[in-house]
Assembly symmetry: C4
Homo-oligomer: 343 residues x 4
């Protein structure tokens, strides 16, 4: 029983567990994709009416499977290394409130709601199933990295978009003042002008609304050019966020590495462990190698000093964290050729 639970945990949360585990995970992945495709395709009315039953069954089956998955995950979460989730009751409660669990819930909830309370708009209900896409985020490390960066920089991004919105509002007001009386249906009020200024400053430029007068064009020209700088902010924020995030991860990998190399050597077991860490932390092989080189160099560092009591030479080795001291009998001189022995 516990074995099953442990195995299921390995399969579902750690994406391990032999070919059966892979089978299950790929099955769930495929099911999500199939569902999304179904939502997209069945929105085409004539396709829907043609295979109404098929889509109906697919939905029922999917919800069934996802519900089982949801239950199982709730059941096995106590196996997790994370101590928060290990208590049979409160732990499971905490798990059910974790983002991924909520995503799983959202994937099935609409069906039950519509089932019990009936549906306002069938189309909306069906579309809600697209949220099952979110289940995919569980399966990619680099996706997790990007989301981490976006989360990290959320505040800055919001501020950047806020600045952009201020510029958009400004542009709308300007064009409303300049061309409001010429194209009243398009620029007759700020709310109407907002459509043009948004489309323009985002450099989408549909061309359905365009200034007509010289002054209008001069003004929009200035707005467009100054808009380039503001529209570049998000890229800048994300770039610096990305670089920082990767630096942090390399750093934490470095600490792992230093801990593992405390005595200056690495056996195979540790290497496997480090490789696992690397994947978990989510840095590229090349970066890991770079970090490794650095640490190795640090480890090589030695200091030759002399004991303040007995003038005898000492060699001090210091790997990043700690320090070793050994007698420096014969100093292996690298630099300046032959040197006299200390008597």
């Amino acid at each position: 029983m516990h074995n099953i639970r442990g195995w299921l945990y390995q399969v579902l949360e750690a994406q391990k567990g032999g070919k059966w585990g892979r089978l299950i995970n790929h099955g769930l992945l495929a099911l999500v994709v199939v569902n999304v495709v179904a939502v997209v395709v069945e929105s085409e009315h004539r396709v829907y009416v043609a295979h109404e039953q098929l889509f109906g069954w697919l939905e029922v089956i999917s919800v069934l499977i996802f519900s089982v998955e949801y239950g199982v995950r709730a059941w096995v979460c106590v196996e997790s290394g994370n101590v928060d989730f290990q208590h049979p009751l409160t732990g499971r409660g905490r798990y059910l409130l974790s983002p991924m669990a909520l995503v799983d819930l959202v994937a099935i909830l609409p069906f039950y709601l519509s089932f019990f309370f009936g549906v306002a708009d069938l189309r909306i209900l069906r579309s809600l199933r697209l949220l099952r896409l979110l289940k995919l985020t569980r399966y990619s490390h680099s996706l997790e990295l990007l989301l981490a960066v976006l989360r990290q920089e959320a505040e800055n991004l919001v501020s950047a978009l806020f600045i952009l919105c201020m510029l958009i509002l400004l542009a709308a007001t300007g064009i409303y003042l300049v061309e409001g009386h010429i194209q009243p249906d398009r620029f007759g009020s700020i709310p109407r002008a907002l459509w043009w200024s948004t489309v323009t400053l985002a450099t989408v430029g549909y061309g359905d609304v365009v200034p007509a007068t010289i002054i209008g064009k001069l003004f929009s020209g200035m707005i467009i050019i100054s808009g380039i700088a503001v529209a570049a902010l998000p890229a800048a924020i994300l770039a610096s966020g990305m670089i920082n995030e990767l630096k942090r991860r390399r750093e934490s990998f470095r600490r792992e590495l230093v801990r593992a190399m405390e005595d200056g050597s690495l056996d195979f077991g540790r290497l496997r462990y480090l490789e696992k860490m690397r994947v978990k932390i989510g840095i590229s092989r090349a970066d890991a190698r770079l970090v490794f080189e650095d640490v190795k160099e640090e480890i090589r560092l030695q200091t030759y000093v002399n004991c303040p009591h007995c003038a005898q030479p000492i060699v001090i080795k210091h790997p990043p964290g700690q320090i070793q001291v050994r007698p420096g009998k014969k100093q292996r001189d690298k630099g300046g050729g032959g040197m006299p022995k200390l008597s």
Copy 2:
């Protein structure tokens, strides 16, 4: 009296002061938002005529409140830690010339001007109230970061936009030479062609003006492609500016931290102080943690060993770049585990 002033200073400038303080700040925030919404909505003529009085009253009340705010801020500024503002007269004078104070002034000035001198164009006057948006900049740290970066890189951004403008002018001249005689109304002169080249090189591309001939399309094709590189400059400038700015801030936080940890430990008071610094300097928690780890490592690099020759205790200290060997009193060997004494 002084208590009131001090409390008001805490509330308005440091956004502190218990739930009443929060109430006041959120009230002012809300009022700004309401004002902006009002400006946008009332620009829709029929909405305006429908609720003319409402908008009138809102304006009067808002100006009243903002005026009071302006006065109070001028009154309490002497409480600030900044010595510039502490003199009752000259200090207040300096404050009134500080950017934020000018923003507050701009938020109310138009009303009084129109009140005393009458209005040229009512729509313009109303639109000017949008400037009250600037009051929001006071309430966000990350917004302040972005504005700092923009200010820092202003010169480079201007140069980048200047290069872009040169390219735009070049493109306009080229298309005027190539298609001036074919679409005289659109490319018949450089000024007319500028509209097309601006819209094109900013990748807005309305499509209201498009080259017609093969040569024209060849030329614009080349311009468009070379434009991609130039249009990428602002993003590059801001990215590097962002990274530098954050590095500077981390650095100054690091100095704060080193100062606070001089004796290698942190009590709760200092931690609170550092947290305050962190928010003030405006770096993310993750970055702060990274800096903290580094400093801790630097500080930790003090080891107590004993000379392998004469077995006397030595202390080896090396803060950042510095190595120091001195006789130690008591041996607390941390580093090299059980190591044999060589007599």
Copy 3:
């Protein structure tokens, strides 16, 4: 015989081999360009019919030459320094499966296939010849850098585009719900709406499909603005990838340099070797100079002074992180100018 093979290897793989070598390489380059131009031009039907034979001969001759090139490369690959390719049979086999060899194969395969099996669509066959462009990648270092970065960041880029696609799908669904009944032919189903959302979120904005209702415009406005952040991800990923890649290359060049300067000096031969490394590693001269300065400084940090107590000479050496104090033979004071002996 072997001389020829070695020379051909130098010519084809190392782009060396005197003016004849240059001639051959430039010839092959030119031929590729001519082929691409031919494909583009002959797609214009009336041009094709006018010079059908010319194009036919060009194709035959090109394929002939490229086939010879392919064969020769397969023959000479055993000369490569790379041990994988040195075995006459297995080595050549490995080479034929290497990316560049496959590119060469793809450049000629279509012709033979069509020759033996006949052609489904002549236009497609001709177009396939564009793949010969890939042969150019062999001749540029910076191109190789960019491709390395793209490969390095491929996973992140895919994730970023995946997020973008999720947003596109979301936008399509939203607009389908909002305007599906108003513009049924354009937004009547998610697949139809996808065209609009793709064109919009990529900020292309043709303007052939545009929301008509207020709600539709509000929704797309929000989508457009949030899209700016997501569309900025690839730039961020590539920027950080670029910076990392260059850092790694500088680092590996640094190691080369340190190895070459072990005894603190550089003769001409080593400089030539380093220059070769620099080009091979693909970092700019300016970066190389920067690395060089650093290493030089690190190496220079060796000073001959004498003990202020017993006036005996000491040598203080500190390469990168390491300090070493040892008795020195002869005093060659570089550092502290004329300093008084303290007896």
Copy 4:
């Protein structure tokens, strides 16, 4: 005589020389701007005919002044610190071939050419005067920075645009295969399709040419999305180039600073010199401060060791480049509280 030459050199090349110097420089600046404006305005035919003479005179006078400027610069260049230009003949020759001198030449050459050989197309001749804009590059440091980055990264940018062009060609071929028979006038051949693919992949998206079929839209959708990644390359290249360039400049400023602080202190004269260097190297004040802090820290570094001969403590100070040794009488312990004196 020499005084005049020296003064003129200061004025023209170093933008110094009191208010008269400022007057001259601003005059030249203004003249360039006036010329550019004239070129733009007179391209409007009716404006030209209205003030034909005015424009004529402006041109003659401008060319006269620029010619004088050109001559004077050639005369005074021998005053430059750059030894290349100091020889009366060869030096002046070298100067005349320097980029800035060529820019000055290009600014006046067209006039003389047309004067001596007559003009093919008057409009083209007039437009050539826009090249006088290039004279402005002499007056901005940050502009010089950007141009340096663009030059530095030119090779990578070309490669990036080459990749983009390959993608454009691919897209054109694809759409030509897919929709060539449906919109023969737009996609009937690759050259025709190129216009669409260029406009699309640069995200300009005029909308004058748009795929019509489902397959065409599917294909362009894929192209558009993959295009986002490629179009992001230039931003990435420039960002990393910018960061590197600034790093290099900070580094060279650091070296200046270290040289100036060799004895660990700074007098006012050196500070002024450093400020001049800072502006010349073109890094921001904030960066300079950061570098300064670092160097100061480096200078503070001290090593406490013991003489290998007489076991007495020594203090080794090492500012980056060099090293000082002094007797460490009483070791000023910072770290661990009270410690026994060395007997």
